[in-house]
Symmetry: C2
Subunit: 117 residues, 2 copies
DNA sequence: AATTATACATAGCTATTCTATGTATTGTCA
DNA sequence: TGACAATACATAGAATAGCTATGTATAATT
């Protein structure tokens, strides 16, 4: 299923912050984790994630350090800051508001659009 | 609570389509309905809704006709098309995917960010 | 008479994303 | 050993599109 640009955009930051809340990680692994979490529905490109990570770091939500993989490949590890954790909580509350609003009307129409969710 | 731009953008179209699935409506009333549905959290401006309605009509999701209020004021009534109903169902499925993905990780971190949702 | 609420419209500024492209190393398979 | 796939990160800037700001008009209310 193709997921609309707007949905991808809205979920990108909360997803990355939540993934880093599990423990530090790095770009390539985050992409695979998103694919996994979404059951293959969300397939991010690296060219979209790296700028997002840079943005998050600029905003102080994450902090990066260079490291190495077991095999010696260079990696940039990201971890959540306190500010990042706060932002995650804020976004969860906001998502909740929007989700409730949508659910409040999706199943009340005289002819509900979607059956059997 | 301030709702992030991205969340507002992602929910705008599905919300309007769902509102029109309840029956035909018009700009001003849609804004009030959104405020109501969200418990006052989502406060759309008219300058943001009208262009959205025009876009939806351009895409064939809604159809408009000029009418009049009881008091004689001119109004543009919008109703959902078949294509619009399909789009609503599509967006509901997509939202479901994204929402499940987020919920799948939000409450699994070694230190869950948000308590007591 | 003045203000607020109702009702719709759009030019074009502004912000922002992500596509496209580039670099480099390691693993694998034929 | 050569080629390809996978791993790993970076960024310029094109493209676009959403929304702010602004304008118009009438009815209701104070």
């Amino acid at each position: 299923m193709k997921i609309d640009k707007d949905f991808v955009a809205a979920s990108a930051t909360p997803l990355v912050l939540a993934i880093l809340n599990e423990g530090e990680s790095y770009g390539y692994a985050i992409i695979k984790r998103v694919r996994e979490l979404s059951g293959g529905e969300l397939q991010w490109t690296d060219g979209m994630l790296y700028p997002l990570l840079h943005r998050l770091e600029r905003n102080g939500y994450v902090k990066s350090t260079w490291g190495k993989s077991e095999t010696g490949r260079r990696r940039k590890y990201y971890r959540l800051t306190d500010r990042g954790l706060e932002q995650l909580a804020r976004q969860q509350r906001q998502w909740q508001v929007v989700d409730s609003t949508l659910r409040g009307i999706w199943f009340t129409g005289k002819d509900a659009a979607l059956q059997g969710i």
